[in-house]
Chain length 424, copies 4
C-alpha cells in the first residue's frame, strides 16, 4: 500500500467520509486532499472545510458546481426524455460523472495518484465514480474503502469514529435516519433501511422533503410557462435564468404542488433489484414540458428514433457510462435533433398533476390546414390514402393469398406449434 | 362499380354511417349487411338495428365483443407496457383490428365481396381497418366512402340525409359536437373541431366523460389491490372477474379519482401531426400496476429488451399492423416474458395520481438478503465489484491511455470537429 | 393538365426517356428541360444532347457528378458499413438522391413547376426520386409517366416511338436486353426478364460486365493497400486520388479478380419481393477494408451501436429517405464515430475473394501488451475477471436460486408452455 | 479451501488440463471427476480416459455430444443468421454453454460442490463457462486455476508437469504450437502467439486445417443442394442426415473448396481487442444458404426485425449469456419466425466462393405475377404508388414548406451548427 502518496477524496463532511478521511491517512500513510462540491444538495459546505482542517488536510477544494451540473449534465440528459426502466429520472446517476470529472481534474493538477469515494460495494455509485475516473484518467488508482476495510457494520464505524475523535452527531449515534438519502438539484433519493421491503409503504412523515404531500398541495392550480431554445429550458414565466436557477425554480413550483414523488423497484447494474423512493419535482415538470415542445417541433421519424434509443441512453447513464464514447456518440445525435426544439409550453401544476395546457413554436410542424377535419382546400388529397394503404398491405396480401383458404385470424400459420421445437 | 354485389358495413347507427349505408345501396346497387359491435362505447345497439331495418337491410349483425376486446387485444398490448410516443395508450388503435377481423369473418361467411367503413381519408383508422382486412382476406374489396364521394362538407352530408329520409338529430343539425369522439372500454378520444389548435386548452365542461376533474375528485385516497397472473390482470380487491369486467371496474375507480386524462400532439401514420385528448382511467392504472409487478418479477435484461422493443411494438399497433407477422412475432416474445409476472400490486388513487403502495410476488426476484445495506452474511462479496468495474472500464482505459496527455473531459478526441465534415 | 408549364426531365437519352420527353411535350404542352448526369454509368452523354436537341429542347443540362456522387453519397454510406438485408450494397439506391437533388435545383433555378423521371410504378426508384424531390422542394409536381400513360407494353412504346420519329436501335426492336440494367460508379444491377425466376441461375454470358468470372480471374493474388482517413478511403497503394477516382480504381482491381457478384432476392419498399443480380467490385473491397480499419480503431460499444443501427440506416437509404431528417440525424452520429477511423489495410484480391492481410493505425486500440497470452507484466489483473463474472451472473443466480430444485437447463421455468396462451 | 470436496473438471487430456487436474487434487485435497466431450474437435478421447486414470480419477465422464451440439446450439443460432461484429460466426462461443450445462448436470448428479475449467483469465471462455454454470446451478463454486495459481508462465507449467510426472509431448516442450487453437464441429479458431500482431499475416502453412487454400481448391465448381425445414438444414443433395452429420458433410464440402477462412480483430467481453483467425467452412455455406431460403419465405418486416435484433443476439452468445432469460426470450421470437422457412437452396462452391444459384420453396412469398416488369394483368395497380409516395412524403413536405425559401439540400436547417453546442 506504500505506493499511494496522495489521494483526492470526495468529501461530504459527514460521518462516513470523515471516517474514510482518517482511515486513508492511517492506512495508506498518504496525504489526503478533500473535494466537496455544491451540486444543490442543500447543505452548508463550510462545516466540511472545518472538519477537513481538523484532520490536518492542507488542500481543501470546495466548489459550487450547480450551474455546470444542470447545464452540462442535467439538460443534455433531458434532451433525450431520459427515463430508466420507464420511471426513474436518474437524479443520482447524472450527478456522479461530474464528481468523477472534478476528482480526476484535481488529481491531475495536484499530481495525486489516487482518488477515493464513500460509495459502497453494492451500489451503482461506485461504478459511476470509477468508470468515469478510469475513462478520464486511465492510470488513476481508486480506493473504495467500503470494499476494502472491515468497518462493515455501523457499530464498528462508530467505534472507529469514537476512537479517532471523529464527531458523531446525536441522531447518527441513535441509529441515524431509517434510510439513506442522496440529494442534488435534480432530486432526493431515499433507499435502504425501512424501505428495503417493496411491499411496505414509505413513511408518510419524515421522509419526503422536496414535495408537499398531495393532500397539502394548494387547492388552486398554477399555470407555468416554460420556454425552450434548442431543447433546453431557458425561461420560466418569461424570466430568463441560468440553468441551475431554472431547475431550482421548477423544484419550488413542482414541490409546492406535490409533483414528482416516485416509489419503485429498479435493477442495479451490479445485478440486484433495489427499492428506491425519489423526489424529482422540477425534473418531472421538465420532462413533460420537453415532450410537449418536441411533439410540435420534431419530425415523426426523428422522434421515434429518439424514443427507440432512449432506453439504451438511459442505461448508459444509469450504469455509469457518461464519459464513454458510446454515450458521447448518442449525445451528438440527440443534440442534433434538438435544433428546432424551441418554443413555449404552459403546464398546469395541481395536486401532483402536471397537465400540458398549451404549446406554441415558430418551428411548429403542426399544420392545421392539413390536419383539419373540415374542408382543407385541397391541401391533402384523401385519395392518396388508398394507394398508401394498398402498397403497405401488399406484402401481407401476398402472404395471405399464398396461405390460401386455411388462413384466418384464428389460425395464423406462422404461429402454429412454435412450442414443439426443441430448444437449446 | 357493378362488380360489388354484397358489402359488410361497420355500422354505428349514427348519422355518418347511416348516410354511408344509403350511399352504398344507391351507388353500388348492392346488398348491404350491417355489423355493429359493443366494445364498451356505452351506447345502446338496438337503435342501430331499427335504423338498419329501416333501410331494408336483411342481415344485421349485432355483437357484444367486450370480453374478446379486452382479453385478446387490450391485455396482450398491456403486457408490453405499450405507449405510443411516450404518452398515448392506444385506446382507439387497439379496437380497430378486432372490428376488421369481424368484418372479414362476416364477409367470408356471407360471401360478401367488399367491406366498408366510415373512417375518413386523413386519419389512422382507415389504415387500421384496411390493413387488418387485407391481411386476413387478401382479395377483399374495401369501400371507403369518405375517400370516394363528394359529400365532404357537413352541409352536403345533411342535405343527402334529408333527401333520403335519414333521421338527423337536433344537435347534429345545429352543428353537432364541437369535436369528434371515439369511445370503447379502454378510452374515449376527442379530436378535431375546437381542439385543432394545440395552443388552446380543451373545454373544461362538456368534454371529458369518463373522469371527474381533479378538483371534484374525492378528498380521500382509495387503495386498490390488483392481482396479476402471467402478466394479465385477473382480480381487483380480491374479486376475480372477466377481462372486460375488470377493465370496466378499473375505469370506474380511476374515473372517480380523476385519473387518466391526456392532452397531446401525436404523429399520424398518414404523415401529419394531430392533437388529441384522451381519457384512459383504467388503462392508466393498469399500466402503472403492470410495470410495478414486472419490476419485482422480470429479469433486468428481459425488462430492458422489452423496453427497447416497446416503441416499435407501439408503432405497429398505432399504424394498424396488429394482424401483421411482425406484430405476431413480437407478441410471441412478449407473451413468453410474462410467464413469471404474477403477484399483487396495491395502488393508491387520489386526485389524478396513481401511487404504487406495495408489490408482492411469489416469483419476486427482489432479494432483500443481497440488496440490504446491512450486513448480508456473505451473500454478496463487495470485493467482486472491483473486478467488475475494472473490466468494464478496460476498453475506456486503453483508449484514454492511447490518447495520452491531450485527453480530458473537456476535449475528447472523438468529439473534435464533427461539423467540419461535408455532409451528403 | 394545363397548369404544368415547364418540366425538368431526368433524361438518359435512351428509348424510354426519349418517349417520355416527347410524351410530356405532347400531353402537357409544356417546355421540357433535360438533365443528364454522368455518375459513372459508362455511357457517352453527348448523344443525349443530340437527341434532346432533336426534340427541340432548349435547355439541356449535362453534368459530370461522379466526384460528388462518391464523395457525398457513397462514402458517407460506407462509413456505416451499410448493407441492406444482409447482402445488398445499395448501389442503385444511393445514386437516386443525388439525381433528385439536381432535378429540384434545376427546377428551382429554371422556375420549372414539375420534374419527371422514367422509373416504373412497381419499383423503388420512383419512391427514391420523389421522396427526395418532395423533401427538398415541397411544392414540386412530379410526373411519373409510367404511372400515368397507357404505353404499358413494349409494343405500344415502340409504336409510339415509330409514330413520333424516335430512333429505336436494332437490339431494342428485337426485344432488347433480356433483363434491365442500372449502372453507376458503385455498381451495375440486373433485374427483370429472364431473371424473374429466383430458382433460375443468371446467364453466364452477356450479363456480368464489371467483373470477370472467377474461373477467368488471374491465378496470382494481388495485394492492395487502402488508406483511410476519418472513415473514408483516401489512397490506394499510396496513391492519393479523388473520391470517384479511388472507386473507379477499386472497381478495376476488384473486377479483375472476380470480386463482388451478388445474386439475391430482396424486399422492395412497395411491398413485393424482387430478384436482383448486382456487381459491386469496388464496394465489396471497400466494405471489407473499412470494417477492418474500424476493428482496430473503434471502441467496442461504439462499433456495436453502429451495427445495431446499420440495418435501419440501410432501410432509410433503400427506401428513399436519404434527404429525411432521420437519415441526417443518424449520419451525424455515424460521422462522429469515424473521427479515429484512420489507418491502412492491406487486402488480397484473389479469385473472387477479398482477404484482409494486415491492418495498421496510429489510433489503434489493439493493445498487444494486454491481450497477449504471454506474461503481461501486470497490465491486466486476471483476478478482476472473477468479480466481473460474479456480478454479471448475479441476477441469473438469484433467479435460479428462487426457482429452486425444479430449475435446470432442460426445463427453464420461463419457457414453460408459452404456446398455451391465447393470442390476439 | 477446505470446503471443496468434489470437483468436476472439463478435461481435454492435454497438458494444461492435466496440470490442472493434479493441481486441484493437491491444492484442494478434493476428489476430481473428469468430463471429456466429443463436440467434433477431431481428437481421440480414449487417451484422456487413460490419463485421468493415471491420476487416480475414479469417475470419468466421456461423452459424444456432437448431435446435441449441432441440433440444440449451432442450428438455433443459425436461425438468426448470427454473426458477431459483422464477421465472426461464433464457433467457439456456441460450444461453451453445452459444456457448462453438462458440467453442472454431472456436478448435480455426483453431488460435487465445484466445477473447474482451463480457460484463462483474459479470455471470453471463462465468462461463458461460468455464466452458464451460475445460471444453471446458482450455488456452484467455480475454480478457475489460471486466475488463482502462480503457474503463469510456460516454464513454470512445464516444471510443475515434470515434477508431478505429467507427460509432456515433444512439441509442447519445444515451445508448442506458435498459437493456440480451439476446435469443434463448427470451426477451428487460432489466436495468440505469432498471431498477436494484427498487421502480420497468418502463416500460410501449418495453421489452417479444415480448408484447403484457394489456390489448391478444385478448378471445377461443385453445386450442392441444401434442404431446409422450419429454418434448419435437414438434407444435403437429397440425403437426410442427423444434424452433426450434416454439418460434418458441409465442412467437408466447404473445406474442399477453400470456403470459410476468416482473419479479424474482435472485441472481447473482458474489454480488450483480440486477433483471431477462424475456419468455418460448413457454417459459411450454411449462413449464406439460410439467408437465401429466408429471402423467399420471410415477410419483409419480420426479416428486418430479425436483422435489427441479430447483433444483440450475437453479443449475448459471444458474451456467454446463452442460458440467460434474455437469450431465451429472443430465441422464442427467432424460432417463431422460422415456421415458414422451408425449401431448397443450391449453392455453388468454387475457389473460396459460395454462390447462391437457386432457391425454391412451397412457402415462397415471391410473386412473379406481381414483380414482373411485363404486363401483370392488373395484379398491381401502379397508380397506388403515387398515393403511397405522397403520404410517405407528407411530413417532409410540411417541414420543408415551413422552412421556406432558406431550405435546400445544401443548408438543411437541422444540421446547422450542431458543434456549437457545449457538450457535457
Amino acid at each position: 500500500m506504500s505506493d499511494i502518496r496522495k489521494v483526492v477524496l470526495a468529501y461530504s463532511g459527514g460521518l462516513d467520509t470523515s471516517v474514510i478521511l482518517k482511515w486513508l491517512q492511517d492506512t495508506y500513510g498518504c496525504e489526503v486532499i478533500t473535494f466537496t462540491a455544491d451540486i444543490g444538495q442543500g447543505e452548508e459546505l463550510e462545516p466540511a472545510r472545518a472538519k477537513a482542517k481538523m484532520f490536518g488536510v492542507e488542500k481543501i477544494y470546495i466548489e459550487d458546481l450547480r450551474e455546470e451540473f444542470v447545464r452540462d449534465f442535467v439538460f443534455p440528459m433531458f434532451r433525450a426524455n431520459t427515463v430508466y426502466e420507464g420511471e426513474y429520472l436518474l437524479g443520482t446517476s447524472i450527478a456522479r460523472p461530474l464528481i468523477a470529472k472534478r476528482l480526476v481534474e484535481i488529481a491531475q493538477r495536484e499530481k495525486a495518484d489516487a482518488i477515493s469515494h464513500g460509495a459502497t460495494g453494492k451500489g451503482n455509485d461506485q461504478v459511476r465514480f470509477e468508470l468515469g475516473a478510469y475513462a478520464l484518467m486511465p492510470n488513476v488508482k481508486v480506493i473504495a474503502p467500503w470494499r476494502e476495510w472491515d468497518l462493515l457494520s455501523r457499530e464498528k464505524l462508530l467505534a472507529y469514529a469514537d476512537k479517532h475523535g471523529i464527531p458523531v452527531d446525536f441522531k447518527k449515534r441513535k441509529g441515524g435516519a431509517p434510510f439513506s438519502m442522496d440529494a442534488n438539484l435534480l432530486h432526493i433519493s431515499y433507499e435502504g433501511g425501512i424501505l428495503e421491503d417493496p411491499a411496505a409503504e414509505p413513511p408518510a412523515k419524515g421522509m419526503w422533503r422536496l414535495t408537499v404531500p398531495v393532500e397539502k398541495a394548494p387547492n388552486k392550480p398554477e399555470d407555468v410557462e416554460l420556454e425552450f431554445v434548442r431543447g433546453d429550458l431557458v425561461a420560466i414565466n418569461g424570466q430568463k435564468m441560468k440553468a441551475h436557477e431554472l431547475l431550482a425554480e421548477l423544484n419550488r413550483l413542482g414541490g409546492k404542488h406535490g409533483v414528482g414523488r416516485l416509489d419503485l423497484v429498479e435493477n442495479r447494474y451490479v445485478g440486484m433489484k433495489s427499492r428506491g423512493c425519489y423526489e424529482t419535482p422540477g425534473g418531472t415538470v421538465l420532462l413533460r414540458a420537453h415532450r410537449a415542445i418536441e411533439s410540435l417541433t420534431l419530425d415523426r421519424e426523428v422522434a421515434h428514433l429518439k424514443d427507440d434509443l432512449m432506453p439504451r441512453y438511459a442505461s448508459m447513464i444509469y450504469n455509469g457510462y457518461w464519459w464513454s464514447p458510446e454515450r458521447r456518440a448518442l449525445q451528438v445525435l440527440i443534440d442534433h435533433t434538438q435544433e428546432p426544439v424551441s418554443g413555449t409550453v404552459v403546464v398546469r401544476l395541481y395536486k401532483g398533476n402536471v397537465i400540458v395546457v398549451s404549446r406554441k413554436s415558430a418551428n411548429s410542424l403542426f399544420d392545421m390546414r392539413i390536419s383539419t377535419f373540415e374542408d382543407d382546400a385541397g391541401a391533402y388529397d384523401q385519395a392518396d390514402a388508398g394507394g398508401f394503404i394498398k402498397l403497405n398491405a401488399l406484402r401481407m396480401r401476398i402472404a395471405a393469398g399464398k396461405r390460401g383458404a386455411g388462413a384466418s385470424a384464428k389460425a395464423p400459420r406462422a404461429a402454429a406449434k412454435p412450442a414443439a421445437r426443441k430448444r437449446g
